[in-house]
């Protein structure tokens, strides 16, 4: 099978990418695989982004024919963003929402944040430390197959989460 990126070399790697909840695979040669890894790892994301973007919008539409979108806060344009791979300001996320959504899906496979949040209060911080602590204890209990302890910690965690939801 030929490499799907350069269409020259024999594909020897399978790159699995989550798109939404579906796992899609791409077949790449060693060179393109290395390039892909390098682009992502080095933050030299320009070429990666533009290839993703052109795949989404369709290669046939030249950039200048697309309607220009401008961020109302920092005046960065969509074409500036696709050229540099960098957004101008936090408000750009809102302004380019339509174009960013498929791009983020391509890069990350998901578009709903699941991680930490900024802390509002000291109480929330204490509660979160406690939860992180308990989660680790639970993982350790599961690792040594002490399911009784794990279940007890899980209940404690549920209680904490319920309290947080009330607040």
């Amino acid at each position: 099978m030929l490499c799907e990126e350069c269409k020259v070399n024999e594909a020897s790697y399978t790159l699995s990418v989550m798109v939404g909840e579906e796992l899609t695979t791409r077949h790449l040669c060693g060179d393109c695989m290395a390039k892909m890894n390098m682009n992502i790892a080095s933050g030299n994301i320009k070429s990666l982004l533009s290839s993703i973007l052109s795949a989404i919008t369709g290669n046939d539409t030249p950039a200048e024919k697309q309607p220009e979108v401008v961020c109302p806060r920092c005046r960065t344009t969509l074409s500036q963003f696709t050229k540099t791979g960098h957004l101008g300001c936090p408000a750009c996320y809102e302004a380019f929402h339509e174009q960013l959504q498929p791009m983020l899906l391509q890069i990350h496979g998901r578009v709903q944040h699941a991680g930490r949040k900024p802390l509002a209060t000291e109480d929330a911080q204490r509660s979160r430390y406690r939860q992180e602590d308990l989660t680790r204890q639970m993982e350790q209990a599961i690792a040594v197959e002490d399911f009784e302890t794990a279940a007890r910690i899980r209940d404690q965690l549920k209680e904490l989460a319920a309290k947080e939801a009330e607040a």
Binding site: A41, H86, H108
Partner: protein, 330 residues
């Protein structure tokens, strides 16, 4: 704690202020605001002991590059010294870089396999700061960053890992595949393009959005363990199959490192890799911690800082050899 395969663990978090444009390179007022706001927040948080504010513009080029060689700041921070700064706590391996690609890059480095500890240090700092200032955050997309590849957690967790046998036995293609399958990436740390000088690699998470920090750390840690097992198995096997050949190359590297009078950077990486392999396998009487420290101390800017001069070429290579000899004697 020294580890036979994993040299160090690093976690960094990207954070931005809601009301300042991302790129402040040509906006001195915005850049100054970032630095002032962050320094203030750190002081108000009460977590500032041991931290020192370093503006890159106040440092000479050698000092800046030496910090980057020790990985306390990123190479990207050097790009615009006029606006960049770092709040550095060298003893704790903690840095808050300002005005790099994002307004803030909170970074923690620990030696050996210790991503959890590094992450917790970053989280504590993130929490301390976020009680004083507000970071650009969106309920759907998480932390908003200058580049969409960091959006979400804004977190990159990485392991600096030494894989000489996997490299020599041409297994890095397989390794790349294993790593990519679980959403991680691996690349050489030193050298241009695809070469990995010293057989040193950086394994890190590729995605940042849609997973929790804990999931990402677990994934990188799990791959770190997997690569460790693979590398150790190959080391074991090579001893059984070709003890003499492997031993010979390790002792040759050891000989050169102990006696050479002049050594270029590329040559250093090659012998360093052999010596670290020998030390990790218990063949050579040298501490892994010494070799890990050497990796930073004999690089160009660190040597120049020692010599208080910007010499390059032969004089630098002679100083490098001298430093190596001195470190191996202790």
């Amino acid at each position: 704690m020294s580890n036979p395969i994993v040299l160090s663990s690093r976690v960094r978090l990207a954070r931005n202020y809601q009301d300042i444009p991302f790129d402040v390179a040509h906006k001195p007022d915005a850049a100054a605001m970032c630095i002032a706001r962050t320094s203030n927040a750190l002081r108000l948080s009460g977590q500032d002991s041991g931290f020192e504010l370093l503006r890159l513009i106040d440092m000479d080029d050698v000092q800046r590059r030496a910090l980057a060689e020790c990985r306390l700041i990123s190479k990207d921070l050097l790009r615009d010294p006029a606006t960049a700064a770092v709040l550095l706590n060298e003893a704790e391996g903690l840095s808050i870089m300002m005005n790099e690609e994002d307004h803030l890059r909170i970074q923690a480095i620990r030696s050996g396999m210790a991503l959890q500890e590094a992450a917790e240090a970053c989280f504590r700092m993130d929490d301390a700061l976020s009680r004083q200032v507000s970071f650009a955050y969106d309920e759907q997309l998480g932390y908003l960053t200058a580049c969409p590849t960091n959006t979400g957690t804004g977190m990159r967790a990485s392991l600096l890992i030494h894989l000489p046998m996997l490299t020599i036995l041409k297994q890095m293609g397989n390794v790349g595949q294993i790593v990519a399958k679980v959403g991680l990436t691996i690349r050489g740390v030193y050298g241009e393009g695809s070469e990995a000088l010293g057989n040193l690699y950086l394994v890190s998470n590729q995605v940042t959005l849609g997973r929790t920090e804990q999931e990402l750390i677990s994934a990188v840690t799990a791959v770190g363990h997997q690569l460790t097992d693979m590398e150790l198995a190959l080391r074991e096997k090579s001893l059984q199959n070709g003890r003499n050949a492997l031993e010979d190359s390790i002792y040759r590297a050891w000989g050169i490192m102990q006696y050479a009078r002049c050594m270029g950077q590329n040559e250093f990486f090659k012998h360093w890799s052999g010596v670290r392999l020998g030390a990790a396998m218990g063949m050579l009487p040298v501490k892994l911690a010494t070799l890990d420290a050497m990796l930073e101390q004999v690089q160009e800017a660190n040597l120049q800082a020692l010599m208080e001069s910007t010499v390059t070429g032969r004089a630098l290579d002679e100083k490098r050899a001298e430093c190596i000899r001195a470190m191996l004697k202790d």
